[in-house]
C-alpha cells in the first residue's frame, strides 16, 4: 500500500475478515482507540510481545552489558586497522590526555615521592638500614607507585572526562549527527581516544616515576646528606630489565583500560543529562576497579617469570 495524495489510511477499512484483537493492545501502554480495536493478523505478527526475562531483570541486564563490552572490544580492534585513520584527532587526543594531565601528575608524583620517603625512613632507621632508602624508593616507585598513582589519577581525570564528553555527545545527538554526515563516529571518537590513552599513559607513568624519585631524592639529600648522584645510582641498582618491562606492560594495559572504559560508558550513555553524570561516574569507578585487578594480575604473572 503506497501513499498517494489524499488517500485515507484509516486502518479500520482494511480486510475485515482477518481481524483479531491482540491481548497486548488491551493490557499495555497503547490505549485501545477506535482505530486500534481491530488490527490485521499480518500486523500483529510484527509487533513484539511483552518482554520475558531469561533469568531475572538484573541478571539479564548484566549479561547484556557483558555482551556489549565484547562487541565494543571486537569492534575496536576491527576498526583500528581499517582506513580512514584520523591521525590529526589522535594527536589532538594525545595532547588532551598527556599535556593537560601533566600539572596534576607532577604535583601528585612529587608529593608521593616525598611522603613515601618520610614514612619509610623511621622503619629503616630502627634497623640501621637508612642507607637502603634509595633502593627501596627506586623499587617502590618504578615497580608499583609510579604506574599505580598515574593510572588512578588518569582514571579519575581522563576516564571520567572521556565518559562525560562522549556521554553528552550521545545525549545531545552529536554522535548521530556524525553518523548522518557519513562519518564513522566510532572511528573518530572511540579509536582515537583509546589509542591516545594507550600510547600516552606509559609516558606519563615514567614522567610520574621520575618526578616521584626527584621528590624522594630531595628529601634524602636534605635529611641524610646523600648526593643526588649517589641516590640515583642506588635507586636503580636493584631495578632489573624484567622490573622495567613489568612497568611498561602494566602502564600500557592501564592506558588501554582507562580509555576503553571511558569510551564504552560514554558511547553507551542514555537517560539524558542524568546519563552523562552516570557515565562519568561509572567510568571512574570501573576504571579504578579494573586497574587494581590488573595490578594484582601483572604482579603475579611477572613473579612467575622471575621464578623461571
Amino acid at each position: 500500500m503506497i501513499m498517494n495524495d489524499t488517500v485515507d489510511y484509516n486502518i479500520s477499512e482494511t480486510e475485515p475478515g482477518s481481524r483479531v484483537k491482540p491481548a497486548f493492545l488491551r493490557y499495555h501502554e497503547i490505549p485501545p482507540k477506535e482505530d486500534d480495536e481491530f488490527i490485521t493478523k499480518q500486523q500483529t505478527k510484527f509487533l513484539t510481545k511483552p518482554k520475558k526475562y531469561t533469568f531475572s531483570k538484573k541478571v539479564d541486564a548484566f549479561l547484556v552489558e557483558v555482551y556489549k563490552v565484547y562487541k565494543f572490544f571486537t569492534l575496536f580492534f576491527k576498526e583500528s586497522f581499517r582506513s580512514p585513520f584520523h591521525l590529526r584527532e589522535l594527536i589532538n587526543q594525545c595532547y588532551e590526555v598527556g599535556l593537560k594531565s601533566l600539572p596534576l601528575i607532577t604535583l601528585t608524583g612529587f608529593i608521593v615521592g616525598i611522603v613515601f620517603t618520610k614514612q619509610s625512613r623511621p622503619s629503616l632507621e630502627e634497623f640501621g638500614a637508612q642507607s637502603w632508602l634509595p633502593s627501596l624508593m627506586g623499587i617502590a616507585i618504578i615497580k608499583a607507585l609510579g604506574p599505580l598513582v598515574t593510572a588512578l589519577i588518569c582514571a579519575g581525570k581522563v576516564s571520567s572526562g572521556i565518559g562525560a564528553e562522549l556521554g553528552s555527545m550521545k545525549v545531545t545527538e552529536q554522535i548521530d549527527a556524525m553518523e548522518v554526515s557519513a562519518v564513522n563516529p566510532f572511528k573518530y571518537l572511540v579509536i582515537t581516544r583509546v589509542w591516545a590513552t594507550t600510547l600516552i599513559i606509559p609516558v606519563l607513568v615514567f614522567y610520574c616515576s621520575f618526578v616521584a624519585l626527584l621528590g624522594s631524592s630531595i628529601n634524602v639529600n636534605t635529611n641524610d646528606s646523600t648526593s643526588f648522584l649517589s641516590f640515583y645510582q642506588n635507586a636503580f641498582l636493584r631495578i632489573s630489565f624484567i622490573d622495567f618491562s613489568e612497568s611498561v606492560f602494566k602502564s600500557i594495559i592501564y592506558g588501554f583500560t582507562i580509555g576503553f572504559v571511558g569510551c564504552f560508558k560514554g558511547y553507551n550513555a542514555d537517560q539524558g543529562t542524568r546519563g552523562v553524570g552516570k557515565a562519568a561516574n561509572q567510568a571512574v569507578v570501573l576504571a579504578m576497579f579494573l586497574v587494581f585487578i590488573e595490578e594484582i594480575m601483572t604482579v603475579q604473572i611477572f613473579n612467575w617469570f622471575r621464578a623461571f
Binding site: N4, T6, I11, F46, T48, P84, A177
Partner: protein
C-alpha cells in the same frame, strides 16, 4: 508570512518509498505498518503528537535505526540492506537537521560547517573548503558568526547552522526534525522561510517532522498525519483538515487554540 511554495514535483520519481514499516522498542510499539512515498521536489510535513514515532520514522530512513519489519527505499536503495560503505554514500545525499541542532560543542561554527567536507575527504583544498563554508553560512545569513562557538548562538541561529551543516554536502533529500520546536514565532517564521529557500536554491525533496501547523502549512505540499503508529490521513493541508476524523479535528483545534 511570505509563502514561497511553488515546488516542481516529479510524481514519477519517488525519492523515498516506505512499505509496511514496523518499529517497536521493547513493549512500546511505535510504528505499526507505515506506508509512505516522497516524490522528487516535494515537501511533506509529518504531523503528530509527541511520541507517535515521527522522529523514529526519519531516523529509520537515514539508517540510524533498523526497522523491525518493512521496506525503506531512499534514492532507489533499500536502506536496511546496505553495507556501512554504501550507507555512508547514501547519507551524503540525505541531509538530516536535528531537533537539538546537534552542533559539535568543541568546535567553532567554521569547524562545524567544514567537518562533513573535511571528514569525507572529497579532495577539496583548504581554500575550497573555506569558500564552501562561507557560501553556506551566507546562505543561512550567519556568515559573521563563523568564529563563534555554538554556545554563543541563539536557538534559531543554532538551527540555521545545523541546517547549513547538512546543506554543505549538497543533499538531494532533507529531513527536518522539529525545525521550529522551542522557537519564538518570529524565529519560527525565519526558519520556515529558510526551509522554503533551501527547497528553491538546492532543489531538495524534504520531510518535515513537526507538530506546528503553521510550519506544516507554509512549507509542505502534502501533510501526513501520524497517529498511533500509522498514517491516518495524507493529503494537502485543506484535504487533511477538512476531514471528519476526530483525531485530525482535535489536532487542528488544539494547535490553533494554543496559538
Amino acid at each position: 508570512m511570505e509563502k514561497l511554495k511553488h515546488h516542481v514535483i516529479n510524481r514519477d520519481e519517488p525519492v523515498i518509498s516506505i512499505k509496511n514499516l514496523y518499529k517497536s522498542f521493547d513493549n512500546l510499539h511505535v510504528l505499526k505498518g507505515v506506508d509512505f512515498v516522497l516524490h522528487e521536489g516535494e515537501n511533506v510535513a509529518v504531523l503528530g503528537k509527541s511520541g507517535t514515532g515521527k522522529s523514529v520514522l526519519i531516523k529509520i530512513i537515514v539508517g540510524l535505526l533498523k526497522p523491525d519489519n518493512g521496506e525503506v527505499f531512499a534514492l532507489g536503495k533499500q536502506v536496511d540492506k546496505l553495507s556501512r560503505k554504501e550507507l555512508d554514500q547514501l547519507r551524503l545525499q540525505i541531509g538530516f537537521s536535528f531537533q537539538s541542532s546537534a552542533l559539535y560543542d568543541g568546535m567553532n561554527i567554521y569547524q562545524n560547517l567544514a567537518f562533513p567536507l573535511v571528514m569525507n575527504r572529497m579532495g577539496l583544498s583548504k581554500k575550497e573548503i573555506g569558500v564552501a563554508v562561507e557560501n553556506i553560512a551566507d546562505a543561512v545569513g550567519l556568515k559573521s558568526k563563523l568564529k563563534q562557538m555554538p554556545s554563543d548562538l541563539s536557538g534559531g541561529q543554532r538551527k540555521r547552522i545545523g541546517i547549513a551543516r547538512t546543506l554543505i554536502l549538497n543533499p538531494k533529500i532533507m529531513l527536518y526534525d522539529e525545525p521550529t520546536a522551542g522557537l519564538d514565532p518570529i524565529t519560527s517564521s525565519e526558519i520556515i522561510k529558510l526551509i522554503n529557500d533551501v527547497q528553491h536554491q538546492f532543489n531538495t525533496s524534504s520531510i518535515i517532522i513537526t507538530h506546528d501547523l503553521t510550519c506544516a502549512k507554509n512549507t509542505s505540499d502534502r501533510i501526513a498525519m501520524l497517529y498511533e503508529g500509522r498514517f491516518v490521513k495524507v493529503g494537502t493541508f485543506q484535504d487533511v483538515f477538512d476531514d471528519d476524523n476526530q483525531v485530525l479535528k482535535d489536532f487542528y483545534n488544539y494547535n490553533f487554540t494554543q496559538e
